[in-house]
Symmetry: D2
Subunit: 466 residues, 4 copies
Amino acid sequence: MSKEKGARSRRFEGGLAPDAEDVNASIGFDYRLLPHDVAGSIAHAKMLARQGIIPDDDAKSIESGLREVEGLLADGKLEWDPALEDVHMNVEAHLSNRIGDAGRRLHTGRSRNDQVATDLRLYARAGAARLIELVDKLRAALVTLAEQHVDDFLPGYTHLQRAQPVRLAHHLLAYNEMLWRDRGRLADARKRCGESPLGSGALAATTFKLDRESVAAELGFTGVTHNSLDAVGDRDFAVELIAAIALCQVHLSRLGEEIVLWLSQEFRFATLGQSYCSGSSIMPQKVNPDLAELIRGKAGRTIGSWVTLMTVLKGLPMAYNKDLQESQEPLFDAVETLDGSLRVAIGMIENLEFDGAVTRAAVDSGYLVATEVADYLVSKGLPFRSAHDVAGALVRSAIERGVELGELSLADFQSESELFTEEIFEWLDVARAVDRRDIVGGPAKTRILGEIRRIKEDLSSMRDLP
Amino acid sequence: MSKEKGARSRRFEGGLAPDAEDVNASIGFDYRLLPHDVAGSIAHAKMLARQGIIPDDDAKSIESGLREVEGLLADGKLEWDPALEDVHMNVEAHLSNRIGDAGRRLHTGRSRNDQVATDLRLYARAGAARLIELVDKLRAALVTLAEQHVDDFLPGYTHLQRAQPVRLAHHLLAYNEMLWRDRGRLADARKRCGESPLGSGALAATTFKLDRESVAAELGFTGVTHNSLDAVGDRDFAVELIAAIALCQVHLSRLGEEIVLWLSQEFRFATLGQSYCSGSSIMPQKVNPDLAELIRGKAGRTIGSWVTLMTVLKGLPMAYNKDLQESQEPLFDAVETLDGSLRVAIGMIENLEFDGAVTRAAVDSGYLVATEVADYLVSKGLPFRSAHDVAGALVRSAIERGVELGELSLADFQSESELFTEEIFEWLDVARAVDRRDIVGGPAKTRILGEIRRIKEDLSSMRDLP
Amino acid sequence: MSKEKGARSRRFEGGLAPDAEDVNASIGFDYRLLPHDVAGSIAHAKMLARQGIIPDDDAKSIESGLREVEGLLADGKLEWDPALEDVHMNVEAHLSNRIGDAGRRLHTGRSRNDQVATDLRLYARAGAARLIELVDKLRAALVTLAEQHVDDFLPGYTHLQRAQPVRLAHHLLAYNEMLWRDRGRLADARKRCGESPLGSGALAATTFKLDRESVAAELGFTGVTHNSLDAVGDRDFAVELIAAIALCQVHLSRLGEEIVLWLSQEFRFATLGQSYCSGSSIMPQKVNPDLAELIRGKAGRTIGSWVTLMTVLKGLPMAYNKDLQESQEPLFDAVETLDGSLRVAIGMIENLEFDGAVTRAAVDSGYLVATEVADYLVSKGLPFRSAHDVAGALVRSAIERGVELGELSLADFQSESELFTEEIFEWLDVARAVDRRDIVGGPAKTRILGEIRRIKEDLSSMRDLP
Amino acid sequence: MSKEKGARSRRFEGGLAPDAEDVNASIGFDYRLLPHDVAGSIAHAKMLARQGIIPDDDAKSIESGLREVEGLLADGKLEWDPALEDVHMNVEAHLSNRIGDAGRRLHTGRSRNDQVATDLRLYARAGAARLIELVDKLRAALVTLAEQHVDDFLPGYTHLQRAQPVRLAHHLLAYNEMLWRDRGRLADARKRCGESPLGSGALAATTFKLDRESVAAELGFTGVTHNSLDAVGDRDFAVELIAAIALCQVHLSRLGEEIVLWLSQEFRFATLGQSYCSGSSIMPQKVNPDLAELIRGKAGRTIGSWVTLMTVLKGLPMAYNKDLQESQEPLFDAVETLDGSLRVAIGMIENLEFDGAVTRAAVDSGYLVATEVADYLVSKGLPFRSAHDVAGALVRSAIERGVELGELSLADFQSESELFTEEIFEWLDVARAVDRRDIVGGPAKTRILGEIRRIKEDLSSMRDLP
């Protein structure tokens, strides 16, 4: 095989037009697949030898030849040839140049179609595993921070209006719930790309008596695919992984938004270590939360990656179509984006310092205990909807007088309902109000401490990925 | 409670501006939640009574009152008031009008925020279950059709170029694989929205001693959520379900594309019953595969729904924000779109008639057995890459002479390689070529029969949804 | 024509399967096109008569029959039959029932394909015109509000960190710029759908000698399309209009975000009239900016609509494909969403009250004049990058001492650079700092007044839409 | 300025955390802006000197220093430092290392915020101009190909069913219409980013007396922006350009789909030069239309880029936020994707050979002239809807007998309607049927020749871009 030919063979007269080569070549991004390509090829070659399809010596040459290629890459000495289109043909050409006919036997019973499907799944599985690890690290960082703020209060918000007081730990642990679901989705995505497509050939399997299961096991798969036409055209695993990534990134965008708010001069709830802030080229006072903004903005990028891939897949007939080349970059970009974002989120959580005095002061202003007034009345027998109305009137009158609810007199309360007694002032105490919310998922101190325990146990239990 | 007030209470002076009311009201779409809202309210009221928070009689009044409201809806007699914003306040107002103070007690220990979160999850769980059922029906229809075409051949394609022959059953079963993965994703999405958010209150749980677990169990949930702030702002379950739906719809888009191709005058592989075709307002001869095109096009719609929801969620601070109202329509639309598309896909598969003579003729033209030539040479010891090159040259020479490979003489073959013997002609027989691909996932007859058995067993085994 | 037939003719044996009819029928949404359909049909019929293709009397019967149908719709008495699929066949059936053979002549030289293309363009043109009008109203509301706040200051932010002081009017007028570009895009989108497709037939024009130009002129088009195959499959006008709408909605999402921030207890920059706020079902004190959140969230919806349509169009072969039916709902939804959002935005701007004392206090804290220090040093000859560094050091030292820059002594300043004199304190005055920024696009008072004049003139000049 | 500092100044203690630096640095992609950055800086420096803000000699040093930096880049000798974040600070650092204090003066009256806004607009304007040129080249290639096929017929399709015959030239020219609209959108996008933001500073303009208009003119802008807050946060120009690009790419996806269909063994309408085809790694006979598939698939990518950017922008408060860094890659990717795709499309059109005999044979089968039968009856006085029904019955009877309409006898025709005479057979002649469609936008020969003339004139007229 002359190096110039690649997949073209003597069926073709010349090479691609230069413009076509530019658009066609994938080596500019699929080089990421090299470690997986090499692993897959070695497993394939060893199996070919076990099955007596190629000589044992050839399999050995292939393995050592591929290790050499891998070494060249590690040393930055591997040269890529775009005329050879992709990582697969580049590796094969390097190999054949090194070991001759043995290299030309590697492709027996295999096609680039099942080869790239295999490489991409290996990439996805490795990526998902790494992301799960980072998700757990971020969860651990959140729990650590929460432990430090069990006794700090901050306003719980709805509509960015102060709503009811909660413990800061409660707020931080809300992110653990999102991340826990993300973890489940990442693991499910990984699980569902557990079947090895190798052996599906170009589209119709192969005439060679391959042992697909042993190759699959060697590569860490949990089984093999069941239909060759489906297997070579299936990119569901990438779609599902990107979807899980995008949702996790959306959760980070919410965290990013909150950090931006907390650091603003209006909130002043927290400060962030300067190693996660940037300056201004012109305004000397600025310490900007660039990283928080970036993890917020990058949600757009992962959403875009999913859209790209889904749109590519829409309406494609069976089995492999070249459009699928466009499935790679969205996958790579999504995995790498979330990887970087999680690392930065961990760093920010570790470098975030809350000012408990400021958050507590925020709780004391804004009528956050108005619901307590309604609940008090319900405890005295008033139907809730009526109690809600009475409390609304009291808030309004307090606002008009420019005072908080606790500054009203008992007479003020009683002017709206005779059910009020001195007891009401006890109900308005923030810590008591919070701790009365002693229910699963609630912000009472005992509940928070229980949650911290539960999450720490969960994080410390060994969990094998499928 | 006066009807005009709804959630506004005496905190407010007047109603919404008319333009604001138009944009704010959700009753135009959230009426779909009524059955779930009623179920949730009844379970909540019964629990309140069990816990001694409201009188038993009130709980009974609430239940019968809500059943009446449900009956009104069924009879088309329920009037919705946009000034009451949503299904929840409309139902509560109807109830209070009917049963007075008992109705005003229903909202004790509950907020619209946890109420709508509960309703939406119940909707999502019911929707996912129905879609899984339809997915299985489509799989069954495909297997039935495949059974009829085990002995028919058609070209397997890559790049829409004829590639290698396969059995038609093999092609049809490829869709079973996609649908099987869809099923898994739908079930995982359903599983992950198994936790009841009821009891999370507006954002900080509630001071009432609710028994969240018993309500959850009564509503068919598998547990309760762990963090109130997260629970009221969480729409992950909708995102994940829509993502699973969109990918399933993309699979249907591929089926739609293939049906469109198969029915074209150029392919003529199949005809479709007229009950799934439309005519032209102007061209009398037209019998158009409108439904196949619609299930293809509707992929766009479900992709758009996911984008809508993800964009809505991006960057929202904790806990509930009104933006979340925009999460409902994408969910409803996605569930209903896939529901209709699956039904139509089932109908089309049941009404599709392939013409085995046409698909067989297609296999015999276009050099689909060229790979056999290469594989033959490999079986004689030539390295694959070199064999591929020889076969390429033979195809080229056959094309130049305007003949198929089987029409070349042995001398023609031998002019390219001395390894050829008369045996080569046996290799070029289509049925043998297909059945030589006797490997897991391959198109050999024994493999196809095995797959049909496997899938039928899978479909017939009882499967409980989480 | 029997009512049951519609476009099916005797080419078909029966009707659609019920499931197929559900998915196929568009009458549930395309009823919106009725006024345009009637207008288009009347113009078509009159032209047919002018050209001698149908009798004059038939054209008159058609016109009066269609006006009757329109009247029925207005009176809520029009019954739609899903078996007739769409608004076009429903109208034609109603017409034929009323006026017999004359009605059956309406479709001469026309197909549903060019008919729906015409209707949709008329809808798009009318929608764009209405939106442009609303955009201008919102711009007018912004200018009115800006005029009231020329002399109020608020912090200009970058990264949501206080950056440099600006006039509030300057901030408000920034939205005029966005809306001005939106206006241009809406007008360009309208301009580019100015060509009438009527006469393109099903795909290959028609054998009848139509006068396309006169029909186009009567319908308010500016010309006719040039290629029948393109015209029936073209939905560019919808894509472009939705893209313009989505970007305008993104601008409203920014305004929504800012209103949410301004109304928060942390900012307290403004209050919003209660007619644009909602209450909480449980927390009596809450006055939530629901409408601001909704115009923020609805950006997602319009982005989703564009994605839906683009994905539908991707990869469609010429000419008309049924997938295009899916182009209608995204268009309708986008137009109606922005319409409602603009109305609400206008209402909110008209009901927004800023507290100038609060915004001014915000300017005085946070080192917003640090850039002035650097600029001062540049005016004394120091290179900017070095001046930036000196100012940074001064800010840091002020923070460490817990004071603002104006509270440092001259000696403090001079300890960092000998270039400082008493003059520096004048530079730190906010009003002077702002008015020194006297450059096109800057926040100096003269510039703001000039901008207000310019925009008011622009708004008052008559502008005809293409 | 020490190299390590960049924008951080002495306000900061240390550098970014390594993970943060990875995510924060943009130099990996914004290096593309270097030519525009240099042009912008030179124009800025010259103006500063003209205005007496910096010495003339400094401006000259800056210009020659920047040219040196540009030269280093051209020679591949420029080293980028990620710690300096972006292209702007890298260039400034290189400059200051070279020319000292003069370099430190470059940033006078300028911020990175208005600098990057300027660079991106220059990039967008240059990109749009290049794409417009390529669009025109593709239009020219289409017209050239159309001219060769004025007398070839092929089936016009709807729903991928043969519908009515058209001239092949007519089909090809349909793409000219799409591209013409694309051209208009690209030009409008370019026009609307004609205002220079330079002088807007970080957000609040600058205290230096800049001459913004002269800088704008020197850089090829048509004016200056009107509001500094808007200008630094505005990425509308990128959104609009990407939207125009994505729609153009969707048009290419339709062309790609059609090329794939035309080259299939089922259609065989055309062959494509091998320089635009790829082979298979395993199937020796394959000549695959990879490039056609890639321009189809890449529609997904550009749609994804728009979604990314729009999602990033949603809900951002004024003025500049770091999220905007995420606006660059989508813009670069979209411009480069369409650039490559248009080049490839041009090459494919130039290398596409149609087989007129095959397309003509396709026209003769499939009842494409059925509409002529209906039109004939209308010409004899039958209402169209009734004529449509008669023709449908005739088609059905012809299908049942296995013949085309032209093979029916006059008696057959007359059995359905007495209006038929021998004349009907003339109506069924394909060329006459096509040429009877002699109406603006129709496929008659005279119309096609007119269109070719019109488009060629349009392409040859000089057009200056705004």
